[in-house]
């Protein structure tokens, strides 16, 4: 009993406490800081392991705390939250290791790692939020925790990027909050229940549509739906680990996850379809997918290209959500994990290129595969996954999305979108791979920091991308194995469509 109450809190605290402690560490206590970080991450991983086991066996984990009359702070672990929690926990561990390596000998590391941990805390809290109120709380906290990370370098571009990020997200958070309060006022409390609650509430439909619009626009800012995506390419000025976390786990995913929550566990997907709001959302997602890819084509800056790719890829999740039917749901949900693992690999690799050779642009990447084979291998796997080439994880997502579309009779517009997006993905990823592997070095590296080293990079920089790349490959290859993301997505879809 006590266990079921304390486990969600423990999962939050396992990153919060190290985060707070790290803030107060002097800059030079590098070793202690690293240990704190890793300890927190490992403890969190263990706790999440317990959570996974419990939720799989239909145990209930819930913490409630009344913050104000009618406003309860609820942490509740259901299958959907477990999916997101385990993703963020696992990737946090990897990213922490990477960040330790990446930021070696740079100033303000205590501050950085403090906010880094807070950022993960907010993400995990978001995943575990048991009602809309708690979700909003963590959604805003996430904004706050990420801002200093984006601004970390302190350069004018970094500050500008952070400012733009903030403008967008504060605006989005406000709309989300207004929508949430409105809904809360109408229903007297919006718990996340599998299958949704609103279809039984007997409320005015047009009001519900307006609220839906508010919520989705609020969440869409973080999920970078067009035209609310403007902050994402600007935010790539952040250090590589931050971009990795931002694109793979934290911010962008938070928005997408929120959309999933709202549609499945607040409105109920069938009810939302009845309201007619899903068609619009699907259209927006489709536009975003294509638009993001088109923009990515013309970017020479590597991280910017990846950023636009994120814009496009995250909308796969939204698209899967907007199509009614369990298969599409599985596709969307599983992409939540798959995109995270693949994109984090890509950003790690991009960070490594910048760190080792000073490469920031695609046009500088000629022949980099020969110089940095490990990193480039990871990048290749990630990129192939993004295109959706089997057996990398991205293929599984695309497969289920497509199946869901066919099943729901939406194939006529979804399949062309998927195909166009895959082609565009290929068009902006394959040239990079081509340059890296097939071309030979044409110009000297912009800033070669590893000249004369026997190894490609320090372990802390090389292994994280390789690990995540292996994960991307394995979760695709072993998609049907027990406890795989796909299995979880099926479990969730089964529960969402149970009634």
């Amino acid at each position: 009993m006590a266990m079921s109450v304390w486990l969600p809190v423990g999962i939050l605290l396992s990153s919060l406490i190290p985060g707070v402690l790290i803030f107060f560490q002097p800059e030079e206590r590098h070793r202690l800081r690293t240990w704190l970080n890793l300890l927190g991450a490992v403890i969190k991983l263990l706790l999440v392991g317990m959570l996974i086991w419990g939720v799989f066996h239909e145990q209930v984990f819930e913490t409630r705390w009344t913050m104000a009359p009618g406003l309860e702070f609820v942490l509740h672990a259901d299958a959907l939250s477990v999916l997101f929690v385990s993703l963020s926990t696992l990737l946090w561990l990897v990213t922490t290791i990477y960040a330790v390596g990446y930021l070696e000998q740079t100033p303000h590391r205590s501050r950085f790692f403090g906010f880094f941990s807070l950022c993960v805390t907010a993400t995990v809290g978001l995943a575990l939020a048991g009602n809309l109120f708690t979700f909003v709380v963590f959604y805003e906290l996430l904004t706050l925790a990420t801002y200093p990370l984006i601004a970390h370098k302190g350069s004018p571009e970094a500050l500008r990027g952070a400012r733009i990020y903030l403008r967008y997200t504060l605006f989005g958070g406000l709309l989300l909050m207004i929508g949430a309060v409105w809904l809360h006022t109408l229903t007297g409390g919006v718990e996340f229940v599998e299958g949704g609650i609103l279809q039984y509430a007997n409320l005015d439909q047009s009001t519900l549509r307006w609220i839906f619009l508010l919520l989705i626009v609020g969440l869409g800012v973080k999920a970078a739906l067009v035209p609310l995506h403007g902050w994402l390419p600007q935010a790539m000025v952040a250090p590589a680990p931050v971009s990795a976390l931002l694109h793979a786990v934290a911010v962008v995913k938070a928005g997408a996850f929120g959309i999933v929550r709202v549609i499945y566990d607040v409105y109920g997907v069938e009810f939302a379809a009845e309201l007619g709001v899903l068609t619009l959302l699907g259209a927006v997602a489709a536009i975003t997918i294509i638009y993001g890819s088109l923009k990515a084509l013309s970017q020479d800056h590597l991280k910017k290209r990846l950023a636009y790719s994120t814009v496009s890829q995250v909308s796969y999740i939204v698209l899967g959500t907007a199509i009614v039917g369990p298969l599409a749901t599985i596709g969307g949900l599983v992409h939540l994990v798959h995109q995270g693992v693949m994109k984090i690999t890509l950003f790690f690799a991009a960070g490594n290129y910048a760190e080792a050779l000073g490469i920031h642009r695609v046009s500088e990447m000629d022949g980099v595969g020969r110089r940095m084979p490990g990193t480039t291998l990871a990048f290749t796997i990630g990129a192939l996954g993004m295109i959706g080439i089997p057996p990398v994880a991205g293929f599984i997502s695309k497969w289920y999305l497509g199946l869901g579309a066919v099943e729901a009779g939406a194939a006529a517009w979804v399949l062309p979108v998927l195909i166009a997006s895959s082609l565009l993905n290929a068009a902006y990823f394959l040239p990079i791979l081509y340059r890296a592997w097939f071309k030979s070095q044409s110009t000297p590296w912009p800033a070669d920091k590893t000249a004369g080293c026997t190894r490609e990079l320090p372990d802390a920089l090389l292994w994280p991308p390789l690990t995540t790349a292996a994960m991307a490959l394995l979760i695709g290859l072993l998609a049907a194995a027990p406890y795989s993301p796909l299995e979880w997505a099926e479990l969730i879809a089964g529960r969402e469509y149970r009634q």
Binding site: M67, A68, P69, G154, W182, T185
Partner: protein, 484 residues
């Protein structure tokens, strides 16, 4: 047991006398006196939480002629805020004024200010309210000009004159009440007052006077110069507590005493003024070039938020929803009190270290003074109303009330106000976190940085996670006509 009520007033008063007599030890006496009054307030609060509202007739004279002290949920909350804030500010001031030759003056006036505040929150009698209001105003003015600069004197003088005018208006209202109902005891009045011309006129005069003191738009013009030119600890209490005192009175009058007199239109007018204050104050804060001026304008905006509640409260039927909204109003006031005092203290630290508080030149603050920068960030979070601060909860309930009453007009005000608050806060943080040499090299964490960060933490964490206590306390009322 009811004798407890005397201590929150008596302790600071006696300490003030002691400090006057023994100026060389004034710092010790000041801090200790503040700490003891904190203790007294805590005892009173415990009593109220355990056994409901309590009352004390001073000297055994019955209310009507004698002086009655009453403590209920609302006053306890205000007392707790003011005493906690003043405790923190006192610790800060002990460092801030440690080398100042005016330190004994400061401590005497400081203790007097606390006395006045506590007496005001506990007072159960309209005339006593006037007296405490004046005492508060006078000690605040003197504190405000302790900085000694020309601008601060000018501003303090302006503040004084306007404060006096407000008190006069209040006093004439008191006179009218006495003429109409023959008593000044608030408990009796809460039952007696009925709608009528006397009550009307009295209410408008008293409210008008208090509006000046609480600096509601367009009567806010005295506030920014006065608050921004005072020494940092003084600005902190001015913004956090003194303004709230006037607001507390308005709440008492509107909700407990004149609840039958108040009309929807009147509330709406105040609400509109509040709305304009929100927009104007936030906009001006965004334009401000100096840190303390920004904070002062932000106070104008925050006061506006509090007034937004009035039309909503008037429209809500008595019962739980109204109590929830009222609690939210109190919570917002409390959060602002803590956050703004933290903000001013942090500004004071920066000013002492950098020698100026021009926002555009604050680069490097985060490196030189990490704790203070953190304080600014936390306080900013509370000012914007982001979670997990208390103001987030309050704003949530405010919006909720908007939806319940259908007064949609406030929705854009709140939205734009929040965005503007975000804009000015993060503008500041952007400069503070930028690299630069605006602030001197880093020293270890100073004693003066700790109180500020604690205050900010109270605003953002304690009031966020333990806010439900507010809603439990607010319905405990000493006044029959009130919301109890």
């Amino acid at each position: 047991m009811n004798n407890l009520l005397i201590w929150p007033v008596a302790v600071p008063l006696l300490s003030a006398l002691l400090a006057l007599l023994w100026p060389r030890r004034s710092t010790w006496i000041g801090v200790l006196g503040t700490a003891l009054s904190l203790l007294a307030v805590v005892l009173v609060s415990r009593q109220v939480i355990e056994s409901g509202a309590i009352e004390l007739a001073l000297g055994g004279w019955s209310p009507g002629l004698g002086i009655a002290l009453r403590a209920d949920g609302l006053s306890v909350l205000m007392l707790l805020m003011s005493t906690l804030v003043s405790m923190a500010v006192a610790v800060y001031a002990s460092v801030y004024f440690s080398r100042s030759e005016r330190r004994s003056e400061f401590w005497v006036l400081w203790l007097l200010l606390i006395t006045a505040l506590h007496a005001l929150f506990l007072s159960g009698d309209l005339f006593n309210l006037y007296v405490t209001l004046e005492l508060l105003g006078l000690s605040a003015v003197v504190l405000a000009c302790l900085g000694g600069s020309r601008e601060s004197l000018q501003a303090a003088l302006n503040y004084l004159v306007l404060g006096l005018l407000g008190s006069m208006a209040f006093l004439i209202g008191v006179a009218l009440i006495y003429a109409g109902y023959g008593t000044l005891d608030m408990a009796a009045l809460a039952v007696a007052i009925e709608s009528g011309p006397t009550a009307w006129l009295a209410l408008s005069l008293m409210t008008g006077g208090l509006l000046i003191k609480s600096a509601l738009f367009p009567l806010h013009f005295w506030l920014p110069p006065a608050h921004s030119n005072a020494p940092a600890p003084v600005s902190a209490v001015l913004s956090a507590l003194v303004v709230k005192a006037a607001l507390y009175l308005i709440l008492r009058l509107w909700l407990a005493l004149f609840d039958e007199v108040v009309t929807q239109t009147a509330a709406l007018i105040l609400g509109l003024l509040g709305g304009i204050a929100v927009l104007w104050g936030s906009w001006a804060a965004l334009q401000a070039e100096r840190l303390k001026l920004m904070a002062a304008y932000s106070t104008v905006a925050q006061v506006g938020y509090l007034f937004l509640f009035l039309p909503l409260l008037a429209a809500l039927p008595e019962g739980t929803t109204r109590d929830v909204a009222l609690g939210a109003l109190v919570l917002l006031a409390l959060t602002h009190g803590f956050a703004k005092s933290a903000f001013f203290l942090a500004a004071g630290v920066i000013m002492q270290r950098a020698g100026h508080d021009r926002i555009a030149e604050l680069g490097g603050t985060a490196r030189a003074l990490p704790v203070t920068a953190f304080t600014l960030a936390l306080a900013g979070v509370a000012l914007i109303g982001l979670p997990p601060s208390g103001s987030f909860l309050a704003k949530w309930q405010l919006l909720s009330s908007v939806f319940i009453t259908g007064q949609w007009i406030w929705l854009p005000v709140i939205a734009i106000g929040t965005l503007l608050a975000g804009a000015y806060t993060f503008r500041l943080l952007g400069y503070a976190f930028a690299p630069g040499e605006g602030v001197g090299p880093s020293l270890s964490v100073g004693r003066e940085e700790i109180p500020a960060v604690l205050l900010a933490l109270v605003a953002t964490l304690v009031l966020g996670f333990w806010a439900s206590a507010v809603w439990e306390l607010v319905p405990i009322s000493a006044y029959a006509g009130g919301e109890g």
